[in-house]
Each structure stands twice: as C-alpha cells, then as structure tokens.
C-alpha cells in the first residue's frame, strides 16, 4: 500500500507532517551529515531577528529530569545574513523552509517579515511571540492576548507568506490567546514553546544558568504540550502544529490523534540527530499496521 503522508496547513503543502523545531536544528546544514534533509516535511530555522544577536552569557544549558533548560537568549546571525549566507544552501533542499522570527517591538517583527517577503525559498513564517516586548515593560507578547493579537495582525498585514504563530505555554488560558491570534489573521498555530524553569547548583548556591531562568523542553513537558494542543484544536478552526517533548513516532502520533495537523521535533534532535527520519519511518509503519492509508484519516481521531 502506498501511504499518503502529505498534509496541508494554511495553504502550505508538506510532504509529511514531521518538521524540525526552531532553535533545535540550526540552519539545517548542521544536520546534513546525519539524515537526508529532503525527507523532512519542513525545516524551521533558528529564530531570526532584525539585527544579529549575541544571546546570553554561558552557562546556557542544564539538564533536568527528562528535559533540559536553555537560556541561549535567541542568539542568531540576523535576518539579512540568514538570507545571504544560509538560505542559498537551504534552497537546494526539497523540503519546506520556514523562517522563525522574533523581535522586541512590533516594528521589529514587521521589518523582519518585510525583508523575508523578498527572500526566495522561504515557504512560511513562524512568529515566535514568547519574547519580551521592550516597549511595554518587558511583558511577553505571547502572554497578553491584546499584544499577541497586535503582533499577529501587524505581521499578517505585511507578509506575503503563510503566517504560523507560535504560542507560549506560560499562560493561564491558552485557548484565549489562540482565539485572539486566529481572529487577528494567523493562518496556522504552533505550540508549545518552552515552559520557564530554573535549576540551582547547591554546591555553589548559584543558578545553573547565567540567565537564572531558562526554557524547559524535552519529554518532561510532553503531557502539558499535548493537553494544550488538544485544548486549542477544540477552540479554533485553523490548523495547529504540535510541539513539545516528541522523542519518537509514538509521541508524534499522540499529537496527530488529538488533532494536530503536523508536529515539530525539537530537543530530540540533540540526542539523536537522525531522529526525524526514524519518526517518519515508524509513523509509516504504524499506519501500515493499522491499515490507515492517508495520514489525514488519523488526525483528530481521538475518541472521548
């Protein structure tokens, strides 16, 4: 049986629902020795800002139980260097290339989106709204419904590309934010970004991270991600991409079954750089075993 693995999300057609999560797959090339990048549904690159950024001082990462905290601080080469130095290589890959963007003001987001309008080879934007808004006292865009809506609308107004908005889990009611972002014009939602956490070195009595707090990722957060995806799928009508703690096909399938149209694999890439290819293989195996010919027939089939 030939399996149909393709999914449509907000005007974008992916050859399969497996994407790599922003910040965990570099600019793609870092992984080219470890798997055939052409197999991926999409590659989402490290978050891009208007100007290059240095990020936080080390130590930037620390392991936790079934997870890790990172405080990389959004270090990146900047959107222009991405287009000049990284994108040409990525154009050679037959997989959707998605640019993850962020800013400290709404104008920053808008400018990055505008610059990417002219960049050939970018299939969509993913807007990371888990960043502090420097103009509004540092509250993150993603934790305030009004701000989340504003930044979404601003990017949608200028961008020619499908716009995915990536939600933060550090909120009381993620469906509220999801609905506002949908109303503001987002084509797709992706969730979750990392959960803020902390870890302490009891010998030195200092935080393990120079930045004090960091973002928790990995299998530890999967139950929370899955719950939020399920809540959001039931609250909006645009497609939802599931992210958070996916280590293998079984984990990915849980997200599809609750209703995610696609998934992103993050931290798992660090433990096994070829993991996404394994996930696609094992997903196909599961479908064959269950007699499911089209992945779309699996999506959203949770029985309650």
């Amino acid at each position: 049986m030939k399996l149909k693995m393709g999914v449509d999300i907000g005007g974008l057609t992916l050859k399969n629902p497996v994407m790599t999560a922003s910040g965990t797959f570099g600019y793609g090339e870092e992984y080219s020795d470890y798997l055939d990048l052409n197999r991926l549904g999409a590659i989402i690159v490290k978050g891009l800002s208007l100007e290059p950024r240095d990020g936080n001082q080390p130590p930037r990462i620390i392991e936790t139980a079934s997870g890790m905290l990172n405080a990389v601080g959004l270090q990146n080469v900047g959107v222009r260097a991405f287009i000049d130095d990284k994108l040409p290589w990525l154009r050679g890959i037959d997989s959707a290339i998605i640019a993850n963007i962020f800013g400290e003001t709404i104008e920053d987001y808008v400018k990055v989106a505008e610059i990417l309008n002219d960049a050939e080879g970018v299939a969509a934007l993913e807007v990371n709204i888990s960043c502090p808004n420097v103009k509004r006292g540092g509250i993150t865009f993603g934790s305030d419904p009004a701000l989340a809506g504003e930044v979404t609308r601003a990017v949608k107004d200028v961008s020619h590309l499908p716009v995915i908005v990536k939600l933060t889990p550090n909120v009381t009611d993620i469906t509220q934010i999801a609905r506002v972002v949908e109303a503001a014009g987002a084509d797709v939602l992706s969730l979750i970004n990392t959960i803020t956490g902390m870890s302490v070195d009891i010998e030195k009595r200092v935080p393990h991270l120079e930045n004090v707090t960091g973002g928790l990722s990995g299998p530890a957060i999967k139950p929370v991600a899955l719950r939020m995806v399920w809540e959001v799928v039931n609250a909006v009508s645009i497609p939802v991409i599931g992210v958070g703690g996916i280590m293998n096909a079984r984990d990915a399938l849980e997200f599809l079954i609750v209703g995610a149209k696609a998934v992103q694999v993050g931290t798992a890439n660090f433990l096994n750089p070829g993991v996404t290819a394994d996930i696609i293989d094992d997903m196909e195996k599961y479908m064959s075993e269950k007699g499911i010919g089209d992945i779309n027939d699996l999506i959203g089939t949770l029985k309650i």
Binding site: T24, F25, G26, E30, D54, Q57, P58, P59
Partner: protein, 244 residues
C-alpha cells in the same frame, strides 16, 4: 571505557570528541562529551576509547555499565589540535583527565613528527587522580608530575611547575598543548600572555547537541564574541580565548 564504533572514527584527530549517551534511556538525558583517548582497529571493528572521571550523575551511571551495554556514540566531532609537520619540542600540560586528548595527540606526534621531543607536565589533585599516567609515560620523553596535595611529584599546581621550566622552550621551535580545568587554562594564559609561543588548549562547556545546532556551548573569544566550543572548538589558540 572502550566503545565499539563505526569505521568513520578511524579518521579521528587528537582533540576531537564524542557525544555519548545510553541507548534507550533518558538518564542521563543529554549526551555527554568526552575527548577521544584512542582509536584502535581490531578484526575489522573500530574501538574508541575514552578516559573519564566520575563527577556527577552521567559519569556515575556510565561507571556502573557492564561489558556489552549499548551506548550511542556520535563523532568524531569538533576541531582537533593542529599537528605541525616539524617541531623540536612538544609540550603537553595536562590537568586530571585532561590527559586524554593529549595522550592521543602525543601518540600522533610521535608517529608523524620525527625528532621531536615530547614533554608532558601532568597535574592532578592527588596521586590517585593521575589517570592515564602509564600510557603517556610510554610515549613521552619526560613526564613531570605534580599534585595539589603533594602525594606524588612536585607539590602544587601543574602550571606553577611548568612556569619554572618555561624558559626551556623557545618560542619558535616549541608547541604547547593543554587540556584541563578552566582555572588551570586561565593560569596558563597568564603565564604565556607576553610570549608569542604557539599554544592550543581544549575547552569544556556544557553541551546538548555537539554538532553546532543548539548554541548551548558557547565560550567568549577576544575577537569573535561567543563561539561554539563543539564546532569552532573544542581546541582554540590560547590567545583567542577571553579568560576574563
């Protein structure tokens, strides 16, 4: 620990490292980086050896493994030491298990640079912590030992010991290589900072991916800002690192 690995490891360079993780276990969660101590081929198989010290959760778990247990080994990774084609004196300065990549380097230098004298300064907390001593003694012309507690060799820091001898190594025909705790490398940096001698050091930082993707392992450099230890390093010219 000796790990059976893929044939690609035959190309390993001294100073390169591996990322090691237990297959099918989330404890420890992240892979752990270790310098390659040796690479050997036997009966068509390739074996990578690492020398490690138990300092925390991961190394504790590794120390309780038994023959035949399955590990995931990624590598060889990073930038190794530059090995010159000719050189009179190769000086190795090792702190603790920092001897591992230097031992691999010494083997290579002995084979590839004819007529070079290889001298090793080896320091550790106490005589018990002098892991890998026998092997490096077998390769180097001289091994000069120091221990913090004076239980063997020169009592005190290895950098002090080296400092006394420093004048023996002419800037233009010697190469210095070092690996050890950051504090030790910082002292070495101070000792050498007014001299144009070629010195490379191998740095450590916490890593998640080991392949340049996560940006977790950065270190401050003098001219390039924060760079990745796993990709631009772990070997750096001592003068390029910002030890402040």
């Amino acid at each position: 620990m000796v790990l059976k690995a893929s044939a690609s490891f035959r190309e390993s360079l001294p100073g390169q490292f591996v990322m090691v993780r237990m297959t099918d276990s989330n404890a420890p969660f992240l892979s752990r980086p270790f310098s390659i101590y040796s690479v050997r081929s036997r009966g068509g198989d390739t074996f990578v050896e690492i020398l490690y010290k138990v300092v925390g959760k991961g190394t504790d778990i590794f120390s309780r493994l038994r023959e035949g247990d399955a590990m995931n080994v990624l590598g060889p990774l990073g930038r190794g030491f530059d090995v010159p084609s000719t050189c009179k004196k190769i000086v190795l300065i090792a702190g603790g298990v920092g001897v591992a990549p230097l031992s691999f380097l010494a083997e290579r230098c002995e084979k590839e640079i004819s007529g070079a004298e290889i001298i090793c300064y080896m320091g550790a907390g106490s005589s018990k912590a002098l892991a890998g001593l026998d092997r490096i003694e077998g390769i180097c012309s001289v091994v000069k030992i120091s221990t913090d507690d004076g239980s063997r060799g020169h009592p005190g820091l290895v950098t002090e010991f080296f400092g006394h001898d420093m004048e023996l190594y002419a800037d233009n025909d010697s190469r210095i290589y070092s690996c050890g705790p950051t504090q030790m490398l910082r002292s070495l940096h101070k000792l050498l900072k007014d001299r144009p001698v070629a010195c490379q050091v191998s740095l450590e930082e916490r890593m998640a991916c080991g392949i340049g993707a996560c940006l977790g392992c950065v270190v401050k450099t003098k001219s390039d800002g924060l760079v990745r230890v796993c990709k631009e390093g772990p070997v750096f010219d001592i003068n390029s690192v910002d030890f402040s």
